[in-house]
Subunit: 350 residues, 2 copies
């Protein structure tokens, strides 16, 4: 079907071994003219080495895995694009998988990827426990956990990359406090995931600095038993807004677990006839593409996605290419940045 290394060898009048040497950059052990002949033959025949054969022989693969909750969420889509760009530059490709935040799917995907010879994966899971993928790590899969920080039960070699969620939430909350807000709500899905808990901690920390207690901070985290999927965030925000604003003493500001949720909250506030930015302030998290297109444009916490993607790829590559040494695990927390737009404003006077 396709042209093989043997045909190239025949065309160039050398052995397949020599062609292989050319392909793998071992050109110091042949005459320059030989090398040239081979390269011409390759070009003439339009030869490309067969990936599967190569991989079977070497055990190495030029494909990396990326497991995200859902690419339908623009945050993950953007991250995927950055990671792909970093990988491409180094000659790797990225196989993208949607887990829908389902541990079983996460495990199944990793198993499939492993069976396909993929030895490095970025897992965007944020589940507190990673025990469902432990067997893979033991088989020496290089695993980078993205959007998550190290937990006690983690395998020693696990590298975690994440934004500093606590700092981010603290920045967001402080911003509201400086604007004079004193009754601030926190809206999230279930607080099961690591980063959502970290954001909540940051929120609390900021309140404490200002001497506020839990009494002033309604937390809305959905039906406890139901874990909201990535596409439910807007609905969740909308519902939360409706319910919070209907209470006797509604908050004047809301910290949302992410931008999708914040957009939902804005929609909910609009439903209730409130003007976001004056009657109610809303802060998001992530700074997705659409954050500054919202009406009003969303004040939010920006994750440094390009830097995070670069870091993830660098660690992945190091793990895959130096398979011998077990890398030392830990957490890499990048600093987020507050982006002030118009969804936040001074607290309304009571």
């Amino acid at each position: 079907m396709s042209v093989t290394i043997h045909q190239v060898a025949a065309e160039a009048g050398v052995s397949p071994s020599t062609v292989s040497n050319v392909l793998n950059g071992r050109s110091e052990r042949m005459l320059p003219q030989t090398r040239e002949r081979v390269e011409e033959a390759i070009a003439r025949l339009g030869y490309r080495p067969n990936g599967p054969a190569r991989q079977l022989r070497t055990g190495r693969s030029q494909v990396l895995g990326l497991v995200v909750p859902s690419v339908a969420n623009p945050f993950w889509g953007t991250f995927a694009r950055h990671l792909e760009a970093a990988a491409l530059q180094a000659g790797y490709r990225v196989l993208l998988c949607n887990s829908e935040r389902d541990p079983t799917r996460e495990r199944d995907y990793l198993e499939e990827l492993w069976a396909d010879g993929i030895r490095g994966v970025v897992l965007c899971s944020s589940l507190p426990s990673l025990e469902h993928v432990l067997p893979l790590v033991q088989r020496r899969l290089t695993l980078i956990a993205f959007d998550r920080t190290a937990q006690a039960g983690d395998p020693a070699s696990l590298v975690n990359i994440s934004v500093d969620n606590a700092v981010g939430a603290e920045l967001a909350t402080r911003h509201l406090l400086h604007l004079g807000h004193r009754r601030i709500a926190f809206v999230s899905g279930s607080l099961r995931s690591v980063n959502r808990r970290a954001r909540y901690r940051g929120f609390e920390a900021a309140l404490e600095e200002f001497g506020l207690t839990a009494e002033d901070t309604p937390v809305w985290s959905g039906a406890a038993d139901h874990d909201y999927g990535d596409l439910d965030f807007p609905d969740l925000g909308r519902t939360a807004a409706r319910e919070l604003l209907a209470t006797g003493r509604p908050p004047t500001a809301i910290v949302a677990i992410n931008d999708m949720c914040a957009l939902g909250i804005i929609a909910g506030a609009r439903d209730a006839g409130l003007q976001v930015g004056t009657d109610l302030s809303v802060v998001g998290f992530d700074d997705i593409v659409l954050a500054d297109l919202a009406s009003p444009p969303l004040t939010t916490i920006r994750q440094p996605l390009p830097a995070m993607a670069d870091a993830a790829f660098a660690h992945l590559r190091a793990g895959v290419e130096h398979a011998g040494s077990t890398p030392n695990g830990g957490s890499l927390l990048l600093r987020p940045e507050l982006v002030v737009r118009s969804s936040t404003g001074p607290a309304p006077r009571t």
Copy 2:
């Protein structure tokens, strides 16, 4: 490293061939108890067949390719998720690639995918000419062109899947006309791509039905020489809104080339102090996740993405699995649907 078919064979006390027969469903030619023993051994050892080896031997691959302009665009992210779901159900995986609408990258990716043994790809290109990927099709790559309709120069076997863009744009424009608008603008990036042109034709057709001429329809299509990327749509819309609204006789309604662009237009209108839905009506195209979160929620044309993804996968699979027969190409145009929300309203009285 991993457990092989030989180890399973040893464990079950049979030959590798028998294990292979079990794996490939040729169970009618062995004793039920043999089959059972093999299956137990497989389970006990946690064996999974090695993908690359299998692929090298059979030439078949369980991976399909998907090339999209950019997953950072939620429209493509959503499509990717639907296609992945369809593929997964049939035991296929999907390798996702971002082309950034660059023909060279499209071709390079297809070459890479081919070299990796991938024989079926969905290409979301919408470029009028597909000659840059012709060599691949000649090598019998099964190619589905998504978001594009057949062109004269296409290879005979090419299957195109798309929403009916002309009908969609016509639905959108008629909706505005029925609301009383008579001065309607069309905002797009360069009209180089097939589907953008189709949408423009639909727009024109609707105007003609109402006896309107080009005079009443400012078209804004950006700097002609510069092709806007997928993430520039919002900026494009914003700029277009600013410029159109600053003219002496501004339009009362705008048909946007897609939702991202429409969101930009809404932002631009807000910048200009206009109330979208009353002062200015805006219709989008695609119905991305965030369309009904916008302020105001966006009236738009919904693409039946799940059905389109299913169709794309079905054709892909047919092409890959029956490699012998050359399928008959053509275009499949699915019907879009008008979704009325609040970004459109009666034309303001002059």
